[in-house]
């Protein structure tokens, strides 16, 4: 069966409406838990979109994104507490250092393909967690505590309201989505997808595989580190088991995969559905401490994967295709 490809992209007006809702959301919903959840939706949305650059477009399926997340978190915490560097600048430096780490650590790993690459990313994340747990200079297992400062945009600390945090993470989230939007429409984006589809063919068409793989890792690591730095400012402490938790890597990959990889809308939809699901099942069922919330959460994911293996974007496409055939 030959397949014609049309209407591949998420309609832009939907994104526009979504953005509008996101901008006024905290004014409509005042509930603190809901606002917290919204912040996590955006934080995981940011990371899942960053994952999408590597995994969805370039085909480098990472299950170790937490390595970049943790390094970002630690770098900004460290720069702030040891050198008094402004959190905003620390955030940027953290991103750049992590991007460099991504390139250096990624160089040998990017020669691996498919599942072997994925396994290597798990190892990389674990090595980071264990290294930071034993590194006395950065507080070893105790981590780093950030001093509480006066609240202002400059200090990146807000105590009376969650709103500034919400808008900051929304801003970062919008930036990563813009990057993916323009990437999709650029030569680099085409090169990423070509490498994902067939490395030999890509090389035969003049693409320097190593360079473009490392470029996609660097961009992905940069934005994942921004999420890490954000969490540092949000919770005012970092410790290895918290910012290098393998569950973060898994959640990020799952948000992207469940949403539908290799498209702009996928990670956004994934984060919108999965994160509230996880937060609310935990709030309702997590108190007994028997992991009932995780069971329900896991069961929902399994059911979803069976019913819609192409992710939420697949569901979206099916619905819009149906609408087109019977108007």
């Amino acid at each position: 069966m030959m397949e014609l490809v049309r209407h591949r992209r998420f309609p832009m007006f939907v994104l526009g409406i979504g953005l509008l809702i996101a901008l006024i959301f905290p004014w409509i919903v005042q509930d603190r838990f809901a606002q917290n959840t919204a912040i996590f939706v955006l934080m995981y949305g940011l990371m899942a979109q960053a994952w999408n650059i590597m995994g969805g477009y370039t085909g480098l399926i990472s299950v170790g994104q937490v390595a970049y997340f943790g390094i970002g978190a630690y770098t900004s915490a460290f720069l702030y507490t040891h050198f008094g560097i402004n959190p905003w600048i620390a955030l940027l430096i953290g991103g750049l250092i992590t991007a460099m780490f991504g390139v250096v650590a990624g160089y040998p790993v990017s020669k691996l393909r498919g599942r072997y690459f994925s396994i290597a990313t798990i190892a990389m994340a674990e090595v980071m967690r264990i290294s930071f747990s034993n590194w006395e200079y950065v507080g070893a297992a105790r981590g780093i505590q950030l001093p509480i400062e006066k609240e202002s945009l400059l200090t990146f600390q807000f105590h009376s309201s969650r709103l500034p945090y919400y808008y900051i993470i929304l801003f970062l989230f919008i930036i990563v989505n813009l990057v993916v939007y323009f990437l999709e429409r650029s030569r680099t984006g085409y090169y990423f997808r070509a490498i994902r589809d067939n490395e030999e063919a890509a090389a035969g068409l003049g693409i320097n595989r190593s360079f473009y793989k490392l470029l996609s890792i660097a961009i992905s690591a940069f934005f994942t580190a921004l999420a890490g730095s954000f969490l540092t400012q949000f919770s005012l402490y970092v410790e290895p088991d918290y910012v290098f938790a393998s569950s973060i890597s898994i959640t990020v990959a799952m948000v992207a995969v469940l949403g539908g990889i290799g498209s702009l809308g996928g990670p956004i939809l994934g984060a919108l559905v999965l994160i509230p699901l996880s937060e609310y099942t935990r709030a309702w069922l997590g108190k007994q401490g028997q992991g009932l919330d995780l069971m329900l959460y896991g069961a929902l994911i399994i059911i979803f994967c069976i019913l819609e293996p192409k992710g939420l974007m697949g569901l979206w496409k099916r619905i819009s295709a149906k609408k087109r055939t019977n108007p």
Binding site: V5, R6, S186, R187, R193, A203, G204, L205, G206
Partner: protein, 244 residues
């Protein structure tokens, strides 16, 4: 006016203990169509892979327009004007036909719009412009082979190497490919064609190279090669060579 576009000098390729190419030397002249033939396992594809940088060379030299390109990475080889297709089609399954060709077009055109224009031209030239919006992986085999040629063409090669572009095609289909090859020659492209379908390639080539068990056993015009006893032996066995 003949000048060498590609010189292969004493090329060896070992896969562990297996010698796939053994002292292969030849020269390709600018603007000619060369057929590379030989029984299965003769080393034809390995030779392609060595020249285009997909497999590292064990020993020997490859000169392209006088420049030593031995063991260059594939993307660098393409940029210098040496493109190829693969025996087993290598296309980008999850991208559209047009996008497949656009990826190659980006070599000469940085913008998406510009690349699309070049891609459309190449698709037309290879006769598959009616598939533009189809998913490449869903095409029938003959169209996939055409697409691969379009992808190679859009990189604007001076030397194009086709690895069994006509295998599995019906006589009508391979006549189209023959015509395409002859048109490319007219435009000044040098071609090396690996082919098993003798009737498809013999009438259109200027020269034939015969590879057997990793060694070049004959080269010359189609007629010379067809009468060469070593070639007959390689293809049909000792008995037929003696009977002639």
């Amino acid at each position: 006016m003949n000048t060498a576009i590609l010189q292969v000098e004493d090329l060896y390729k070992d896969f562990g203990g297996l010698r796939a190419l053994s002292g292969v030397s030849f020269t390709l002249e600018e603007g000619e169509i060369t057929a590379l033939i030989g029984p299965n396992g003769a080393g034809k594809t390995t030779l392609f892979n060595c020249i285009t940088g997909f497999t590292p060379v064990t020993k020997g030299r490859i000169l392209y327009r006088g420049k030593d390109i031995t063991n260059w990475p594939p993307h660098k080889v393409v940029r210098h004007g040496l493109a190829r297709t693969f025996q087993v089609v290598q296309i980008l399954d999850d991208m559209t036909v047009e996008e497949n060709v656009m990826v190659g077009a980006f070599l000469h055109e940085k913008t998406v719009q510009g690349a699309r224009v070049l891609a459309r031209q190449a698709l037309k030239q290879s006769g598959i412009d009616h598939y533009t919006e189809h998913l490449a992986g869903s095409l029938p085999i003959p169209a996939k082979k055409r697409l691969e040629i379009a992808m190679a063409l859009v990189t604007r090669p001076a030397l194009l190497m086709l690895d069994e572009a006509m295998a599995g095609l019906t006589p009508t289909e391979f006549r189209d490919v023959q015509e395409l090859i002859l048109n490319l020659k007219k435009e000044g492209v040098t071609l090396v064609v690996v082919e098993h379908v003798m009737e498809a390639i013999m009438p259109i080539c200027d020269r034939v190279l015969v590879l057997n068990l990793g060694t070049l056993i004959a080269q010359g015009t189609a007629k010379e090669v067809a009468e060469n006893p070593d070639v007959i032996k390689a293809y049909l066995g000792d008995k037929y060579a003696r009977n002639r």
